[in-house]
Subunit: 146 residues, 3 copies
Amino acid sequence: MAEVLQLPAWPPLVLFSVLLVLKMGAVAFVTANARRKSTVVVNPEDVMVNPGTHVEGAEAASTMRAKRAHVNDAENIPAFLVLALLFTLAGASAAAGWAYFGIYFVARTLHTIFYLNAVQPWRTAAFAVGQLTQLGIIVQLVLGLL
Amino acid sequence: MAEVLQLPAWPPLVLFSVLLVLKMGAVAFVTANARRKSTVVVNPEDVMVNPGTHVEGAEAASTMRAKRAHVNDAENIPAFLVLALLFTLAGASAAAGWAYFGIYFVARTLHTIFYLNAVQPWRTAAFAVGQLTQLGIIVQLVLGLL
Amino acid sequence: MAEVLQLPAWPPLVLFSVLLVLKMGAVAFVTANARRKSTVVVNPEDVMVNPGTHVEGAEAASTMRAKRAHVNDAENIPAFLVLALLFTLAGASAAAGWAYFGIYFVARTLHTIFYLNAVQPWRTAAFAVGQLTQLGIIVQLVLGLL
């Protein structure tokens, strides 16, 4: 099915799907780095791979903040990737693909930056932009069924 | 590839994928609302966007309950959406699409309602129906490989 | 679109997508079993479906370990399933599908086994192999856009 490569929105779909997954991975890296710097781990065996750390019953506040940003990604990005793929398969235009997927990627990246740096109300605003972008795709998908 | 629109199970796939994502978003909204009503936030900067709240080390019990329902969604729904798409691309019938995707959506919606309202054993029963529905799709996908 | 069945990487995509989802479900089962054996639940209504348990403010350490393994799956596997599907739709070879998807499945299964049994640095090594496999798919997807 090389004809999938002819789908107008295929290039932005692949590009921004990849960037969103890499962005999620970056938050995981930030979490691991915060854990190392906090010197607190919850898995006793992790002391071995994080020399200088010790075990406590809960992660440090800095680690938990990064973790919350990551969990928010896990709650939102995978489902968005599926909707973006459905939208592309349904024949979305290249312009719609670049606009919807690009705006969502920027909004989610800003959400992460604002979360890690405790910036409100901008974190909530960035989250809202991402959700509104997804809502736009949802409306177009449903209209396509009529 | 407008021919994807000719896939027999495309309409139920799009409809129930959208409804499942919206249902997940609704749980996020319930969580945010429980947080506001509990007056407890864990991110200090969130006091600004939730006037009248104060910071504690952990979310209120009501917030954590909604959060657990949301996490259960994040653990299950995105993977189901991918399997449902594979099943549709493999040529599932319209009847199979409406039945499998519709039952899963109803089961997951009931799971959320039962979780938020602490109703057992119905929450476990609704979870089991969703998992069995997914197992049906898995069996058909694997049989399709033979 | 029965022609999707002609995609070279379709058989390994379906097989390993199914196995990864079943593996995630197995971790959920391990978590539920750890909860039952720990006799500690956090939802008061769960005492009914887990006779002999009682309510505490936090799960037992054994339950939380299984839960962390499950959350790590939820943070990584759904996004991988989408990338694997994009890679397949773009015309990946059967050999690439069997290699990438198979290695990822083995790496994630070992990650879970090592997490549940507190085996380091092998858990981190298994995680890294999974991420590198995903990175290989990402590189091929992006090269396909050029």
